[in-house]
């Protein structure tokens, strides 16, 4: 507490004397934050319209190159987003605008929304009841006679893997299609995906 007051005083004095370092750049506060839902290169953040900082693997945090001094104002904005995020407005900065101090620089995060792609399952020759298919936690009961099931959306570039949880009465269903032919794959960047369940 005391030291920060002292530091603020010193900085103010330095500014009054016309010394440098008032605009940020060589202070002692790192401008950092956490990043959520980023899976690939492409997210670039700016502070006060400059100091471009790319978020790189493992895509969990960022740190601007220029350090701040206490009471410098910062305003973090999104300059560009990864290809699997639809628009700049889909990456939201939380607590990104404030005056720098030990509290405010510890509260910043950026959360992106990855574009969702449709995952559809075509069902062939299902004549009895009881079939349950899953894509991980996404569970669907499939009644007799069903020809198509719309699964929950899947993150672009993210994995999927459709399997049969429960076989229907008296029939055996197998999964084919998808990126690797067995109902699994990585969701493509341009097209929606169809997996096939064939019952016999």
């Amino acid at each position: 507490m005391k030291s920060s007051i002292l530091r603020a005083g010193v900085v103010a004095l330095a500014c009054a004397l016309g010394l440098s370092a008032c605009g940020g750049g060589s202070g002692d506060l790192n401008l950092t934050g956490y990043v959520y839902n980023v899976t690939k290169d492409g997210l670039v953040l700016q502070n006060n319209g400059g100091d471009d900082t790319a978020v790189t693997s493992p895509y969990t945090a960022f740190q601007f190159g220029n350090r701040l001094s206490t009471d410098d104002s910062f305003n973090i904005t999104v300059k560009s987003v990864p290809s699997n995020v639809a628009s700049v407005s889909d990456c939201v900065v939380a607590n990104g605008k404030a005056h720098a101090n030990y509290y405010t620089i510890g509260q910043i995060s950026v959360t992106c929304k990855i574009r969702q792609r449709a995952l559809k399952v075509n069902v062939n020759n299902l004549t009895t009841s009881g079939l349950v298919i899953v894509n991980g936690a996404d569970r669907h009961d499939v009644p007799a006679g069903t020809t198509a099931v719309q699964m929950a959306g899947v993150n672009e570039d993210g994995p999927y893997g459709v399997t049969v949880l429960t076989q229907p009465t008296g029939q055996t269903c197998t999964v084919s299609g998808g990126g690797n032919g067995n109902g699994s794959g990585n969701m493509g960047a341009t097209e929606d995906t169809t997996v096939t369940v064939t019952c016999a």
Partner: protein, 249 residues
């Protein structure tokens, strides 16, 4: 900062004490122990302190908080320690006590609800204890047999994926094909899972050959904690993926 706050609270407490003396009883001030519990979805939780037990049931309106006070107030200077019955959150491993079905309820750590679950009556002007419950999640894991090629990726639907590398001999650095384990994170209670081969390794074909409810790597996660301690939760660890070499052409 903290000291001055405590001093203010003490002053306030002293005022309250004086006020309560007006009745002529001359007894010590007493304090109700108020409790807030968020996200109670299932019955079973019993919160205890100072010899009192209160069962905490899900609210009538789904999503609402549960608020109650323990039946007896405690006197100034008495220590309260609100815990799931039989639990000990400072032990190692932690004893979680009598918990809600499928959930684990712990003192709320989110500001500004992060008030102490144990303290002395009179330290703060009022006693407020806050708990929050979370759905239990259990590990999903298994074994890969015969893996010698690199590049194998396994997935649990769109929920998680993992790259599995073959075991290599420490001297020759050649893959041995020995069993190796994999983890696909945790799955919430009652959620489904289905392990699939996302990417085949070089020169081999792998398939899910055993495990899960259906023997093919899929199922619904059930409670697997056998005592009130979540440290002994096993989850589903019996998924088996078997790899065979591709026929050389």
């Amino acid at each position: 900062m903290k000291f001055s706050l405590a001093r203010t609270a003490l002053a306030l407490a002293a005022t309250l004490t004086l006020a309560s003396c007006g009745g002529g009883g001359g007894g010590k001030a007493t304090y109700p122990i108020k409790v807030n519990v968020k996200n109670v979805l299932y019955p079973g939780l019993v919160l205890s302190t100072n010899g009192m037990d209160v069962p905490v049931n899900p609210p009538a309106t789904a999503g609402a908080d549960v608020n109650f006070s323990f039946p007896n107030e405690i006197e100034y200077g008495q220590v309260y320690n609100v815990l799931p019955k039989g639990g000990d959150l400072s032990s190692s491993p932690v004893k979680y006590g009598t918990q809600a079905l499928h959930q684990t309820c712990l003192p709320n750590t989110n500001y500004p609800d992060n008030l102490p679950h144990t303290a002395t009556a009179g330290q703060l002007a009022t006693i407020q204890v806050n708990y929050v419950c979370a759905l239990n999640a259990y590990p999903l894991a298994g074994t890969v047999k015969g893996l010698t090629g690199t590049g194998l990726q396994l997935a649990n639907g769109s929920s998680a994926s993992v790259t599995v590398t073959p075991v290599t001999d420490s001297t020759t650095s050649k893959p041995t094909g020995a069993d190796t384990t994999f983890s696909l994170g945790k799955v919430y209670w009652n959620q489904t899972y289905g392990v699939t081969v996302l990417t085949q390794p070089a020169g081999q074909t792998c398939s899910v050959t055993a495990g899960g409810d259906n023997g093919k790597g899929a199922g619904t996660m059930q409670d697997t904690n056998t005592t009130s301690s979540l440290t002994d939760t096993t989850g589903v660890t019996n998924i088996v993926v078997t790899c065979v070499n591709n026929a050389s052409s």
